[in-house]
C-alpha cells in the first residue's frame, strides 16, 4: 500500500516536472521546434490510444487510422462547411469516431488474432476509399484546408493560428488524455483489459463478458484516436483522405513497439525517439523510413518489449543480482 502510494507520488512528481518543462520550452526554442513538439504531442495521443487496445487489451488493430481520419475530417468539415466553433468541433471529433468504433468494434471484437487484424484493415480501407472518391465532401486525396476560429475559454481566447497558442492547446488536451488513460488503466476496468490480454479464456471463466470489455476498449481507443486526428487537423489546418489510410495506424504500431507496449509512457517515448530521429535524418538523407525500419527490426530482435521493457528488465536484473 505504502509502496503503491510512493509510486503514485513519484509519477505525479515526474509528470508535473515534465509538464513544467514542456510549458517553459516555447520560451527557449524557435517556432519550428514548437510546431514539431505540437505534432509530437498529437502522435503521442494517437500512440497511447492505440496502446490501450494493443498493449493493454492485446488487440492489434490497424483500423485506428479510420478513427484518426474521421476525427480529422470532423473538425475540418464542421469548421469549414458548417462554421462550428473549435470546441464543439473537437467534441464531435471524439463522438463521431466513438460511434464508428462502436459499429466497427461490434463486428471486429468477435474475431481474434490475424482475423481481427485483417477486419480492422478492411474497415480502414473502406474508409480510405470513401474518403478518396467522395471528393465533393472530403476533397479526396487533395484534401481540404480551413482556418480554425479562436478557442474561447471564459475570458481567455486562444488563437490556434498562432503556433504558441496551438502548442499549449494541444499540450493541455494530450496531458489530460494521458492522465485519463492512466487513471482508467489503474481502475478495475483497466485490470479487466489486462486480464483479457494475459489470458482471455481465464477472464471469461471468471465471469467477464470478454467481448463487451474488448468493445469498450476499442470504443475508448477510437474516441481518443479521433481526438488525435482532430488535433492534427487543427495543427495543420488541413485534412485529407490520406489520414484514413491504414498505414497511418502503422505510426502508432511503430511508436508502441519501439517504446514498449502496455506502458503508456513507452509509446510516448517511442513517438519522441522515432520522430526526432526522422527529423534529424531528413537533413542528410531522403529515405528516413528505411532507417526507421531498421530501428524497428533492431528493437524487435533485441528488445521485444520495447525501450521501457528493456530498461525495466535491466533494473529487475540489477535488483535480483544485488
Amino acid at each position: 500500500m505504502f509502496l503503491q502510494k510512493g509510486k503514485s507520488f513519484g509519477f505525479i512528481l515526474i509528470f508535473i516536472l515534465i509538464l513544467l518543462g514542456l510549458i517553459i520550452i516555447p520560451f527557449f526554442v524557435d517556432l519550428f521546434y514548437q510546431t514539431f513538439l505540437t505534432e509530437l504531442f498529437v502522435w503521442i495521443l494517437f500512440a497511447i490510444s492505440f496502446d490501450l487496445i494493443f498493449g493493454y487489451t492485446g488487440l492489434l488493430s490497424f483500423g485506428q487510422a479510420l478513427f484518426f481520419g474521421l476525427g480529422g475530417y470532423t473538425v475540418t468539415i464542421l469548421i469549414r462547411k458548417f462554421g462550428l466553433n473549435t470546441e464543439l468541433s473537437l467534441l464531435f471529433s471524439i463522438i463521431i469516431p466513438i460511434l464508428f468504433a462502436w459499429f466497427v468494434g461490434y463486428f471486429s471484437v468477435k474475431l481474434t488474432g490475424i482475423h481481427f487484424v485483417i477486419i480492422t484493415i478492411i474497415f480502414a480501407i473502406i474508409g480510405n476509399i470513401i474518403g478518396d472518391t467522395w471528393t465533393s465532401f472530403t476533397g479526396g486525396a487533395d484534401g481540404l484546408t480551413f482556418s480554425p476560429p479562436p478557442y474561447r475559454l471564459g475570458l481567455f481566447q486562444i488563437d490556434l493560428m498562432d503556433i504558441k497558442g496551438n502548442y499549449y492547446f494541444v499540450l493541455t488536451i494530450v496531458a489530460i488524455s494521458f492522465l485519463f488513460l492512466r487513471r482508467m488503466i489503474q481502475s478495475p476496468l483497466g485490470k479487466v483489459f489486462i486480464s483479457i490480454r494475459e489470458n482471455e479464456e481465464r477472464a471469461r471463466l471468471i465471469g467477464y463478458n470478454v467481448q463487451r470489455y474488448k468493445l469498450i476498449a476499442f470504443i475508448i481507443a477510437g474516441g481518443l484516436s479521433g481526438l488525435a486526428g482532430g488535433l492534427y487537423s487543427l495543427t495543420l489546418k488541413y485534412a485529407s483522405a490520406g489520414y484514413l489510410h491504414w498505414s497511418v495506424s502503422g505510426h502508432a504500431v511503430v511508436y508502441t513497439i519501439v517504446g514498449g507496449m502496455g506502458t503508456l509512457i513507452g509509446p510516448a517515448l517511442g513517438a519522441g525517439i522515432v520522430m526526432s530521429l526522422e527529423h534529424y535524418l531528413i537533413n542528410f538523407l531522403q529515405t528516413t523510413d528505411l532507417v526507421v525500419g531498421i530501428v524497428l527490426v533492431a528493437m524487435v530482435l533485441m528488445a521485444p518489449k520495447g525501450l521501457v521493457g528493456f530498461i525495466q528488465s535491466r533494473f529487475k536484473k540489477g535488483e535480483t543480482s544485488a
Binding site: 524557435d30 517556432l31 519550428f32 521546434y33 510546431t35 514539431f36 505534432e39 476509399i129 478518396d132 472518391t133 471528393t135 476533397g139 479526396g140 486525396a141 487533395d142 484534401g143 481540404l144 484546408t145 482556418s147 493560428m161 492534427y232 495543420l236 489546418k237 488541413y238 485529407s240 490520406g242 489520414y243 527529423h279 531528413i282 531522403q286 529515405t287 523510413d289
Partner: protein
C-alpha cells in the same frame, strides 16, 4: 650558448639557410601585408552576401517518383547554372531539398521546417495537388511564395485563390482547365463527337472529365463518365460499360494503371472502333516502349514534345542546350541510362522558375521576405521570350491569377512508338477568363 646544432636551420626549397629570426621576420611582414590588404577595395564575389534560400519539395519516394526524379534533377541543374552565372543580384542560391513521400501531411511538416528552421525565402516543386493544398495554410501565414512543380488542379489559380493561399502560389505550367481549353476542339473536330471518360476516381480524374466533358457537351457532343479506382489493374469490367456508339475514349490514370488501360482497350478490340485520347501525364517518365505496341494510334496532349525532332525548329538551339544541361538525349531518355524516360511535359517548370525568380528580383529589388508580394507581382507580370531559360517557347504569366501559359501539342503514337506531333496549339488558345484578380493584394 649558441651552437651550430641549436641554430635550427631550415633548408627550404630555395636551398638557402633560413634562421628562426628570418622566419619571424617573414611571418611578421606577411601578417602586416595581409592586414593592409584588407583596407584595399574588396573584389566582388557573390559569396559575400547571404544566399537566397530556395526550398524544394518533390516526390522522390512512394508515388509519382518518375516525376520527382526529373523535377528534382532539373531544379538542381537550373540552380547550379544560375550560381555558375553569378547568382541573383550578387547572391548565391542555396537549395534545401526534401521528399514529400507523396504525403500531404508530411509535406506540410517539411514546408514548415523549410520556412521556420531552414529559413527559406521561396519554395518550389511537387506535382501533388494535395501537397500544395496542405502547404497553403503555411505559405499564407508566413507569406512565402510557392512555385508549383506540376499540380494540375485548376482551382488553385481559380476563384478561391485568395482564400486558399493568399496569392502566394505561382504556376507557370498547364492544368486540367487549360489543357481542356487548348485540346478539346482538336478531339471534337478530328476524333469524334461522342466521348466516354474512363478516369481515375479521384480529384484529377474528375477534374479532367468535368473540364473536357462540359466543352464537348456545350458543342453538341455527347459524353459518358466511368470512374475506376486509381490503382485499377483489370479494366475489362469498366471497358464493358463503354457506350457502343462512343467515338472517343478519354482515359486518365497514372503509373501502371495508365499503361494497363491502354493495353486492355486493345485486348478487347475497342481500339478498332474508337479513338483513344489522353493527357501526357498518364505516361510521363515512362517510355512508350514500356506501354507497348498497344499504345500505337493513341492521341496524347503534350505540354512540350518528348522527342527533340518534334520540338519546333526555332526552339532547337535552346532545347538542345537545355537537354544537354539536364542530361537528356534526343529521344527523351536520360543520357547514359536509356531506360529512364523524361517527364518532359512537366520538368521544364523547374528549369524556368529560377530564371523567373532572377528576373523578378532584379526588377523589384527584392532583398528579403518583406517584399515577397512585390516579387510575386514582378514574376507574375513576366512575358518570357523563347530562349536558353525558356526552351518551351514564349511563356506568358498572367497577373490576375498567377497562372502561366505556353504552347500545347497534340501527338500520336506512331508504329515505331514515337510520339509524333500532329498539331501545335498556341498558348492563346489555352487561355480562359481569369476567375480572380490578385493584382490588388499588397
Amino acid at each position: 650558448m649558441e651552437t651550430k646544432k641549436s641554430k635550427k636551420k631550415v633548408e627550404g626549397v630555395l636551398k638557402k639557410e633560413f634562421s628562426r629570426r628570418d622566419f619571424i621576420k617573414t611571418t611578421a611582414l606577411g601578417a602586416a601585408g595581409l592586414s593592409l590588404s584588407s583596407w584595399a577595395p574588396v573584389p566582388f564575389t557573390y559569396g559575400a552576401q547571404p544566399p537566397i534560400k530556395i526550398g524544394m519539395l518533390n516526390e522522390y519516394t512512394v508515388f509519382a517518383t518518375e516525376y520527382g526524379y526529373w523535377l528534382g534533377k532539373v531544379g538542381r541543374t537550373a540552380i547550379a547554372k544560375i550560381n555558375a552565372e553569378g547568382g541573383i543580384a550578387g547572391r548565391k542560391l542555396e537549395l534545401h531539398e526534401y521528399d514529400t513521400k507523396a504525403n500531404p501531411a508530411w509535406s506540410a511538416s517539411m514546408c514548415r521546417k523549410m520556412i521556420l528552421e531552414d529559413k527559406v525565402d521561396l519554395i518550389m516543386g511537387s506535382i501533388h495537388s494535395g501537397v500544395h493544398l496542405a502547404c497553403f495554410p503555411i505559405i499564407k501565414q508566413y507569406k512565402i511564395p510557392l512555385f508549383s512543380g506540376g499540380s494540375m488542379t485548376y482551382e488553385f489559380t481559380g476563384k478561391d485563390s485568395l482564400s486558399l493561399h493568399g496569392g502566394y502560389y505561382i504556376r507557370n505550367h498547364s492544368h486540367a482547365r487549360s489543357q481542356a481549353v487548348a485540346a478539346w476542339k482538336f478531339g471534337f473536330d478530328n476524333l469524334g463527337k461522342k466521348w466516354t471518360f474512363l478516369n481515375a476516381d479521384y480529384a484529377w480524374g474528375h477534374s479532367l472529365a468535368r473540364e473536357f466533358g462540359s466543352r464537348v457537351r456545350a458543342a453538341g457532343g455527347k459524353t459518358q463518365d466511368i470512374f475506376a479506382p486509381p490503382a485499377t489493374q483489370d479494366f475489362i469490367p469498366f471497358l464493358q460499360k463503354v457506350d457502343p456508339d462512343t467515338e472517343v475514349l478519354f482515359t486518365a490514370f497514372l503509373g501502371s494503371s495508365g499503361l494497363g488501360v491502354l493495353r486492355q482497350t486493345v485486348e478487347v478490340g475497342l481500339h478498332k472502333r474508337l479513338q483513344r485520347f489522353t493527357v501526357i501525364c498518364t505516361t510521363e517518365g515512362i517510355g512508350q516502349e514500356v506501354v507497348g505496341k498497344e499504345s500505337v494510334g493513341a492521341y496524347y496532349i503534350e505540354y512540350h514534345p518528348r522527342h527533340l525532332d518534334q520540338v519546333p525548329k526555332e526552339l532547337h538551339p535552346y532545347e538542345i542546350a537545355y537537354r544537354k544541361a539536364c542530361g537528356v538525349d534526343k529521344d527523351g531518355k536520360e543520357v547514359g541510362n536509356p531506360k529512364v524516360t523524361i517527364a518532359g511535359s512537366h520538368m521544364y517548370s523547374m528549369w524556368i522558375y529560377p530564371y523567373m525568380i532572377k528576373l523578378g528580383i532584379e526588377q523589384c529589388g527584392w532583398k528579403d521576405s518583406k517584399k515577397n508580394m512585390d516579387l510575386i507581382k514582378a514574376i507574375c507580370s513576366l512575358k518570357l521570350k523563347a530562349g536558353p531559360w525558356c526552351p518551351v517557347g514564349d511563356l506568358v504569366m498572367r497577373e490576375e491569377d498567377h497562372q502561366g501559359f505556353n504552347d500545347f501539342y497534340i501527338s500520336r503514337v506512331e508504329p515505331d512508338l514515337k510520339l509524333k506531333v500532329l498539331e501545335r496549339i498556341p498558348k492563346e488558345k489555352a487561355m480562359y477568363e481569369p476567375e480572380t484578380d490578385l493584382r490588388t493584394i499588397t
